[in-house]
């Protein structure tokens, strides 16, 4: 039974990935991409990685998908019949078109298949490495949290996580940089929206906030944590933006800056303090580890949520 479900899921995932690449219309590819993300999330659950599943559904499929969808409008690929047809001919992988000579295409295809076969063989033969489960488990009581994934993220490999929070901030700056500078100061005003939409959004806001807070807190003992919570909170911002509330113009500039940087900044200051008191970078005093991790997670979630909102608001301008 397990095998059946897994194979079905795997085949579906692969099929959807193919559709993403080969669907004649780009808009269809983006919709398929959503489905692909959901399938993948199911696969994560089958593999026992609930944290990853939430992250995948929320960030890779949800957030990214929304950005993609929004880009479709930018590229005038939806909402206009002419463009659709134009794009249909222009953007799918042109297997039979003149732009590739068929020998080139054949060579590329063969190379890809060869690569695939070799990689399958290599993966097939991966010897049992044993992983680090045992060590992670043994050190869990000292980490301040009960959920091993959170322990790895916020304690054992806190350095990676810190850099990752930094990466999100950098991504935000990078997107500003790509957008040219003049728009930097003034985030966009969303157009006034439908009253029903606004009502719904208002209903969803507290729910999302609550669920985010729950995930954040629950990360201590089970699947959940800063990133998942952050995406939910970010979703609030995005929804509000879509509903015509221009979150970022209301908040003063200083405050915006603080919101975006506080996660990274606090994490860093904490690290420096730990070093100043004789410990290593990110070495929590065991007694306060749980509390500190929660604070770090909360602030990180706030920052990431702000960054995601800002990215969306900036991009949809």
């Amino acid at each position: 039974m397990d095998i059946l479900i897994d194979s079905l899921l795997a085949i579906l995932t692969i099929y959807l990935a193919f559709r993403c690449m080969l669907a004649p219309k780009l808009s269809k590819a983006v919709f398929v991409f959503f489905a692909f993300g959901l399938m993948l999330a199911l696969a994560w659950i089958r593999l026992g990685a609930v944290d990853v599943a939430i992250a995948e559904a929320a960030i890779a499929s949800g957030f990214m998908g929304v950005l993609m969808l929004d880009s479709l409008r930018d590229f005038s690929l939806i909402f206009s019949k002419n463009q659709e047809r134009l794009e249909e001919t222009a953007s799918k992988i042109p297997i039979k078109k003149d732009s590739y000579h068929w020998t080139t295409a054949l060579a590329l295809g063969l190379g890809l298949i060869l690569f695939l076969l070799i990689s399958i063989q290599a993966i097939w033969e991966v010897p049992q490495g044993g992983g680090l489960t045992a060590i992670a488990e043994a050190n869990l009581p000292m980490s301040g949290v009960e959920h091993p994934v959170t322990a790895v993220l916020l304690n054992y490999r806190a350095y990676d996580t810190w850099l990752e929070i930094g990466v999100i901030l950098m991504g935000l700056l990078a997107i500003f940089a790509a957008g040219g500078l003049k728009q930097y100061r003034k985030p966009g005003l969303a157009p006034a929206q439908d009253p029903l939409l606004r009502k719904t959004i208002l209903i969803f806001t507290p729910v999302l906030f609550l669920f985010g807070a729950f995930l954040l807190y629950f990360g201590k003992m089970g699947p959940g944590g800063a990133f998942q919570a952050a995406v939910l909170w970010g979703a609030i911002g995005i929804l509000l933006h879509l509903g015509g509330w221009t979150v970022f113009t209301v908040i003063p500039r200083r405050m915006r800056q603080i919101l975006v940087t506080i996660g990274l900044g606090f994490f860093m200051i904490l690290g420096f303090t730990q070093m100043a008191t004789g410990g290593a970078f990110f070495e929590y005093p065991p007694a306060y580890a749980g509390f500190l991790i929660l604070v770090v997670e909360t602030l990180a979630a706030i920052s990431i949520a702000a960054a995601l909102t800002a990215i969306f608001a900036f991009l949809t301008k």
Binding site: I118, S119, Q121, A122, I123, E125, V126, P127, Q128, G129, G130, G131, L132, I135, A136, N139, N155, Y156, R157, A158, Y159, D160, L163, E164, G166, V167, L169, M170, G171, L173, A174, F176, A177, A178, G179, G180, L181, Y184, R254, Q257, V260, T261, L264, G265, M268, G271, F272, M275, G279, A280, F281, F282, E283, Y284
Partner: protein
């Protein structure tokens, strides 16, 4: 790893630039620039201090969070890392100074870019993190930090050309990092550890490892723009703003090279064969010839310099075939390893200085002319003697004429080539030199030629020219402490080590 002294230095080397970057977000444009310049001196002096400490105590480590590998992550500065960090610091300081004045010059085509400073410090943090890292996955994160910042800096000008080049660069870099991460996954799956030192001990040959090696190497080759994958580099480097181009080609591409060097010599020794080294060498030689030839054909200064980067990075790859012993050779008695390593390190340093100087000079030229067509360099010598001199000196170092750092690198490379009996690399090295001479003197020839228009150059702040000139001189000055530097480097584990291409454990099949 307990035998090494621990210190807060490694963490500070990453933390300080990160802190500065975050702080700089809170300042207005002018304060940001001031903070940037002061901060660069701060980070630079920290790097200098780290260098001294390493010279005193040898390798220094920092166990992050107090969790020892394999569970946690370890940062370590060995002499090799210290040299790279020091190099980054020196060039970083000069580029910071240059940028300060560059962005102050209120020329319409340049303007001021408030995002430059935070991004540059994030980049610096990423570079330092990369050099310090001792963990496969952490290397991935740092290289992504570098990629995102580098691309963001590259598109700073906001022109369509730069954006397009930036997107191409970003996509190439993402493919590279994904390929790298694929290899990391396989290695983690088969060994259960990510720490480089532990991996070096437990890794056994087998199909999986060979495949992991292949994808990791391919990923890194894409990131460092090795020959067939160099397509993204020239447009990205030439379309960026001058200080950014300098950063990209002087430091960023070196990151991937550093990773490759570390991984090949410290982790993958068991999976490498003589043929693998030869293959890498061939791509290097091809890059040297192709890049130099393309540079010779360019009509734009920055494109020329960017193509020259492709070629010069090729020289770095030619060091790898020398590191791998042919069957039957013994790594302990191989006398060409030290020259090969010296060649690699000095090529990195000389190229970093020379290329930074060339791009900064290109920025000056663009500032003075409004464009960078080579034909317009006429009479540069009379109008901007310092810039002309910087171009000349940096160019001479690229060619590898004595007594420049490039000369030392090429000398050592040739020596290694002859000592190891792999003489077939020599023609490529020399032909590359000649082609390099071709394009460098093409520039100089025009610089000496009489101008066709009256008053061809607008005045440019002197200090910009001084920065470029000093960097160019740097590529010569590194030769003076060469012997001490090599002695210092010998303190690191990998320096001077070779790879014996015996497939330990019987070649095919796992275990």
């Amino acid at each position: 790893m307990k035998e090494f002294p621990t210190s807060a230095l490694p963490a500070l080397l990453v933390g300080l630039p990160m802190l500065l970057a975050t702080m700089s977000l809170f300042f207005r444009v002018k304060g940001r620039a001031l903070l940037g310049v002061l901060g660069s001196f701060l980070v630079g002096s920290l790097a200098f201090f780290a260098f001294i400490e390493v010279a005193k105590y040898g390798t220094i480590i920092h166990i992050l969070g107090g969790w020892e590998p394999p569970l946690g992550i370890l940062l370590r500065i060995d002499p090799l890392a210290a040299v790279f960090i020091g190099l980054t610091a020196i060039i970083g300081i000069f580029i910071s100074l240059y940028s300060w004045w560059y962005f102050r010059a209120r020329i319409a085509s340049i303007g001021r870019f408030p995002l430059f400073w935070p991004l540059w410090f994030f980049l610096w943090a990423g570079l330092n993190g990369l050099f310090l890292s001792n963990d496969l996955f952490n290397l991935y994160v740092t290289i992504e930090v570098i990629t995102i910042c580098a691309v963001a800096l590259a598109v700073l000008s906001g022109e369509a050309k730069a954006l397009k080049a930036g997107l191409r660069y970003l996509l190439a870099a993402i493919i590279g990092s994904m390929a790298y991460l694929f290899g990391v996954a396989l290695i983690y799956g088969s060994t259960g550890t990510l720490d480089l030192n532990l991996l070096g001990e437990v890794l056994k040959p087998g199909n999986t490892k060979t495949f992991a090696l292949i994808v990791i190497t391919l990923g890194l080759l894409i990131k460092k723009a090795a020959f067939p994958f160099h397509f993204w580099l020239p447009p990205a480097h030439s379309a960026a703003l001058a200080p950014v181009s300098a950063l990209l080609s002087a430091l960023v591409v070196k990151g991937a090279f550093y990773m490759m060097l570390r991984l090949w010599t410290e982790v993958f020794e068991v999976s490498l064969t003589f043929a693998a080294g030869q293959l890498i060498g061939i791509t290097g030689a091809a890059a040297v010839l192709w890049g130099s030839w393309q540079a010779l054909l360019q009509t734009n200064f920055k494109l020329l310099v960017a193509h020259s980067s492709v070629a010069q990075m090729g020289y770095l790859l030619m060091m790898f075939p020398l590191l791998i012993m042919a069957p039957g050779q013994d790594a302990d008695s191989a006398e060409w390893l030290a020259p090969a390593w010296t060649a690699g390190i000095f090529q990195v340093m000389a190229h970093a200085f020379a290329k930074a100087s060339l791009f900064l000079s290109a920025g000056i030229v663009v500032m003075a002319l409004g464009h960078d067509r080579i034909e317009s360099l006429r009479d540069l010598v009379a109008w901007m003697p310092m810039t002309a001199m910087a171009i000349g000196i940096a160019g001479v170092s690229l060619i590898g004429l004595p007594p420049s750092g490039g000369f030392l690198a090429k000398w050592m490379l040739l020596k290694g080539v002859f000592l190891s009996g792999q003489w077939w690399w020599a023609p490529a090295i020399l032909a590359g030199s000649l082609l390099t001479a071709g394009y460098v003197f093409m520039l100089l020839r025009l610089a000496f030629a009489p101008a066709r228009v009256k008053d061809p150059f607008r005045p440019v702040p002197k200090i910009l020219q001084v920065c470029a000139l000093l960097l160019a001189l740097g590529s010569f000055l590194i030769v003076i402490p060469a012997e001490n530097l090599i002695q210092f480097l010998e303190g690191s584990k990998s320096f001077g080590s070779g790879i014996e291409s015996i497939m330990k454990g019987g070649g095919y099949g796992n275990e």
